[in-house]
Symmetry: C2
Subunit: 410 residues, 2 copies
């Protein structure tokens, strides 16, 4: 049996996915393991237990990233794979978890075949990829590659007012390893697509060659909280109306730009949020994404101009803060070619594609040649308990990962 | 000194307003005494103490309405005045409280002058006028006049999931008096305008001859919670977008109708309310008001048609429930004339006007000739800690109430 004949064990991989999904389980089969919550801690403990069972040397760094290292024949720059195990509040069981646990499955296959790779292999999971509790998202990988000072990340306050630093200490994951620019050979991340492209086209493997730029902005609008019955329409300063206008504008803008442009308002909060009081305050979050940095900048400018004009006309004030901003990322051409060729060799349909979601891989591209492997999400549904990828697709993706890693680790 | 020379004591009235405003005080000088909360209970206890100090016989009915009765020469149908002492979450200190405490001030003037009126006088405050915790608003007066069965009102669930019945018992205000159609001679309610008309025109007294019809509807929109980055615009089923479109439509509709039509969206809740998840659910509340019932019905129909079309185009479902619906009210012509004449006799500027807000008086008109006295709200601001009426206007309104009550009680 040659290396090329090795295959992952899908039953074993599904069993680990099922077991991890029991931690922070929510109705409908999904997960709520917000970063650095008790549930996240329990998930971390579970995965680290598996890492140790597989003989990996586990280290935790100062931002809580976890690394399980398998020795290579030489102590050269390691090949790393990994993803994240935190989830949004209404998360599915595949997002992130699949990439981490498929990495463990690769290790188990190598262990059983008693294969020693030339380079060390690291299976990683990064802190707070989702950004559902703390901003910015992809925090752990960003700090890891030196893109965000550690002390800034530790001081970040969550939606519940607690800081990353305090919560890391509370759950016991403020590790001793320093963060900073690591010396890596390559990074490859296996992930569900979280979009409808592969599923709709019936393609099994995505060789991800780029990633959309992301712009998250929070606008705070302030008006006057008058009585809904007695205040004539022309005398209103309605912060909620401005927030709603912005929401419909973002839709019009995305449709007008077309192409890869998407725009979403996922969060609106009105104050005092009472049926008969004109809102005096609204907090609204805008998510803009494009693979073209110039277009993304233009969209940001159009949103800023619209909110300025609309608020002024309504007699409201605007404050804004950038919650996250990442330029589009182009992945390593050689890595993408390797993934594409490997998928074909294994007999899977494959296409090159862009990622619409942010991933830890976009940070890793700053320090090492990087690319991603996608498998289909049924209906394109993600961040939802109905998130689903067929077992045969999970198996295909993990086998591509296995063979890519065998090639890259030597 | 004749009856016509009697005047209220503004210092005493202001002192009671100040003291009541200390209960459930919030930053900026306002009040939060949501109906049947601990703060509401403390406010009730305080006002009932004053009623007893003034020699009133206090009774509490099964929906928690409180009545302080002053004997008349005859045991004939009483003259009632009153309002409410519950507030919205960000309430001012005058809304409701002013009418109740001015009633107590009238009693104190009569007591000091040793005046015995022909008819008994009742100073009342009604449960849950605001509707900020329990729907419908004006609940206590509605039950009192027989417009809502007691058991339905007691079963109403608040924003915190607790019922009116449980909360009445908890705070000790589930009284022994039965509710039902009372035998009243007249009802008069003194209130701040809560709108900008008197203040802008420099008029001291409003003789309120009608009240806008009110329509409150809550729409629940359901879509699909996809990932904000990976879901192409054309494949979205965004419940938040539909809610925002409705909000801007309500504004356009009110502007198009003009006249007395107002329309407000004061409450929008998105789920899961995360920046990077397309909302799969939105709950949005629409407040429509008009003095013309036909116009109000037309506005309701237009809103229903719009939300139906917009949700369908977005692939979302709509459910709706009516939270409150009151037809416009025409107050008693003789009462309005009495208020107008009394204000003129006292040397105050006066105008007839419509109330844009709902008041307990609109319920009382069903069982007794009723009208309202308004005083100016500076800037038209209400339901806000900045709510303010000048002491001289508070004094003027209370003196009009005193003289109107003297005339009506005989």
């Amino acid at each position: 049996m040659t290396r090329a004949d090795l295959r992952i064990d899908i039953v074993r991989l599904l069993a680990r996915l099922d077991r991890l999904a029991e931690v922070g389980a929510i109705e409908g089969g999904g997960n709520a393991r917000l970063a650095l919550s008790d549930q996240d801690r329990d998930g971390r403990d579970l995965v680290i237990g598996w890492m140790r069972d597989l003989g990996l040397a586990v280290t935790v760094d100062a931002i809580g990233n976890v690394f399980g290292r398998r020795r290579g024949r030489h102590d050269s720059a390691p090949l790393m794979t990994g993803s994240h195990i935190d989830t949004v509040r209404t998360g599915g069981r595949y997002d992130g978890n699949y990439g981490v646990l498929a990495g463990l499955e690769v290790v188990e296959v190598l262990n059983q075949a008693a294969i020693e790779t030339e380079r060390p292999i690291i299976i990683a999971f990064f802190t707070n990829e989702e950004g559902a509790r703390f901003h910015p998202d992809m925090m752990g990988s960003l700090v890891y590659v030196g893109g965000l000072p550690l002390d800034e990340a530790l001081a970040a306050k969550g939606i519940d007012g607690k800081t990353v630093g305090d919560e890391l200490r509370r759950i016991g994951y403020a590790g001793p390893e320093p963060v900073g620019r690591p010396d890596l050979h390559r990074f490859v991340e296996l992930h569900i697509e979280q979009g409808p492209v592969l599923d709709r086209e019936g393609v099994t493997i995505g060789a991800v060659d780029s990633l959309q730029g992301i712009s998250w902005t929070e606008f705070t609008l302030k008006g006057t909280p008058n009585h809904a019955g007695t205040t004539p329409m022309r005398l209103r300063h309605d912060a909620g109306y401005v927030a709603a206008s912005l929401t419909t504008f973002v839709r019009r803008l995305a449709n007008e730009f077309g192409g890869n442009q998407v725009g979403t308002v996922g969060s609106i909060k009105l104050f005092p949020d009472l049926i008969n009081v004109i809102p005096n305050k609204a907090v609204v979050a805008v998510d803009l994404r494009n693979t073209d940095e110039a277009k993304l900048k233009e969209a940001e400018g159009r949103v800023a101009a619209f909110i300025g004009e609309t608020a002024k006309a309504e007699g409201c004030t605007v404050e804004w803060r950038r919650l996250a901003r990442f330029e589009p990322v182009i992945f390593d051409a050689g890595m993408v070619a390797t993934i594409e060729r490997t998928a074909k060799d294994l007999g899977f349909s494959v296409r090159r594609m862009t990622s619409g979601a942010g991933h830890d891989a976009q940070m890793m591209q700053r320090v090492a040649p990087t690319a991603m492997i996608f498998v289909p999400s049924v209906g394109g549904i993600s961040h939802n308990v109905r998130e689903f990828t067929k077992p045969e697709d999970l198996e295909a993706g993990a086998n591509v990962l296995l063979q890519v890693m065998l090639e890259l680790a030597g």
